[in-house]
């Protein structure tokens, strides 16, 4: 899976969970400040991302995912493993 495919998938999830327009979801955007996603919405994004991309994103890792790009990289590494 390419980074762009993961980004597009995340954008769809974020749109469904938090109502953020998909075209605003870019690699350099932070979840909290730029996209206004609170901790509970973040949990839902993580749960759906795990299902969609077939990766495990442990709780202790979630707090390290500041930007959408962080999540894309983590998912890419996890999917390749």
């Amino acid at each position: 899976m390419t980074e762009n495919e993961i980004l597009a998938g995340l954008a769809e999830i974020i749109n469904e969970v938090a109502g953020v327009p998909a075209d605003q979801v870019a690699a350099d955007k932070t979840f909290t400040d730029d996209l206004d996603i609170d901790s509970l919405s973040m949990v839902e994004v993580v749960v759906q991302a795990e299902e969609r991309f077939g990766v495990k994103i442990p709780d202790e890792e979630v707090k390290n995912l500041k930007t959408v790009g962080d999540a894309v990289n983590f998912i890419k590494a996890g999917a390749a493993a």
């Binding site: 469904e16 969970v17 609170d38 901790s39 509970l40 949990v43 993580v46 749960v47 795990e50 709780d59």
Partner: protein, 315 residues
């Protein structure tokens, strides 16, 4: 000989004292806005000193019996789902039964925390189906404010008191008004909801949220499968009232049609554990969002962690 089952009556009891979010903000560092956006609660009920698990269960049970229009002497079993009876002995059900004038029925409490009502309902349906009992009174009753840590702003804003009841009876024509139950547990996650040495609830809210939003949509689909209906045939979805965000998340991920009513009693009642589903049922019926014959999917989940759910037909 086996029998068909139905819910023949519903009843509730809501303590008169209302605690608003503004009231909570006087106790702990919180705000109406924070509580509404995080958990969707506006008010919760608090029982007074004279309102106990037993008295509230009795009041809800009496209304369910009256709603069904049956004689208490025809009830053979009383099940009380609760996790907030401080002294676990004597258990609540025999005392509720005697207060209701039900002569020497089988009487047992069931503790599956917030999933308790749906477990009790499935056991009641099995007892009626198999001929063990003619009518079973099922009650969820909680005085959670007795086991709330009023210094923990993450949990004390959540909980309320109350009781809800359903009477399970034989159907006249053998039809099934209580569908097959789907139940399960995840004991490896039991530390997410516990009690401290002062017997106060302690909860890792975010971990429970993750488990619930991940698992519940799958459980709902399994209930629909076993019942043999599509989501489009449902008239209402009544989840345990733990957090409005969980309810909305599960409803969203199921892509339910607009026509499906969603139990949102949590807004006015808070999280009442085993009482929350029957309380949400009576609210949906009183507001006219569901009417007799409607099919409603119930799903309780929480401490244990554990869950149980089934489709019922509204009396």
């Amino acid at each position: 000989m086996t029998y068909g089952t139905r819910i023949s009556g519903l009843g509730d009891y809501r303590p008169s004292t209302i605690i608003s979010n503004e009231d909570m903000a006087k106790l702990v560092e919180t705000s109406d806005e924070w509580i509404r956006t995080r958990v969707g609660i506006a008010n919760r009920r608090k029982a007074g000193a004279d309102e106990t698990v037993v008295t509230m269960a009795t009041a809800a049970g009496a209304k369910a019996i009256a709603d069904a229009g049956i004689d208490p002497t025809e009830i053979d079993l009383v099940l009380v789902a609760t996790c907030s009876l401080l002294a676990t002995m004597p258990h609540a059900a025999p005392r509720v039964a005697v207060a209701l004038g039900i002569p020497s029925p089988g009487a047992v409490d069931i503790n599956a925390a917030c999933a308790g009502f749906c477990y009790a309902l499935s056991f009641a349906a099995d007892a009626v189906r198999g001929g063990t009992a003619r009518n079973v009174l099922v009650i969820g009753a909680e005085k959670l404010t007795d086991i709330t840590n009023w210094e923990d702003r993450n949990t004390c804003i959540l909980f309320g008191d109350g009781a809800g009841a359903a009477l399970v009876s034989r159907s006249a024509d053998g039809s099934e008004g209580i569908g097959p139950v789907v139940m399960g547990s995840a004991g490896e996650l039991s530390e997410f909801i516990t009690m401290n040495d002062k017997l106060q609830m302690v909860m890792e809210g975010q971990s429970v949220y993750r488990w619930a939003t991940g698992v519940l949509p799958t459980v709902v689909r399994e209930i629909l499968d076993r019942t043999g209906i599509d989501a489009a045939n449902l008239d209402a979805l009544v989840l345990h009232q733990a957090n409005l965000r969980i309810i909305d998340s599960v409803a969203r991920s199921l892509h339910l049609p607009e026509s499906v009513a969603i139990g949102r009693d949590i807004v006015e009642s808070g999280n009442t554990s085993a009482a929350s589903i029957p309380l949400a049922l009576t609210t949906l019926r009183e507001t006219g969002e569901v009417t007799s014959g409607d099919r409603m999917l119930l799903l309780g989940f929480g401490g244990g962690l554990s869950y149980a759910g089934q489709v019922i037909t509204c009396p």
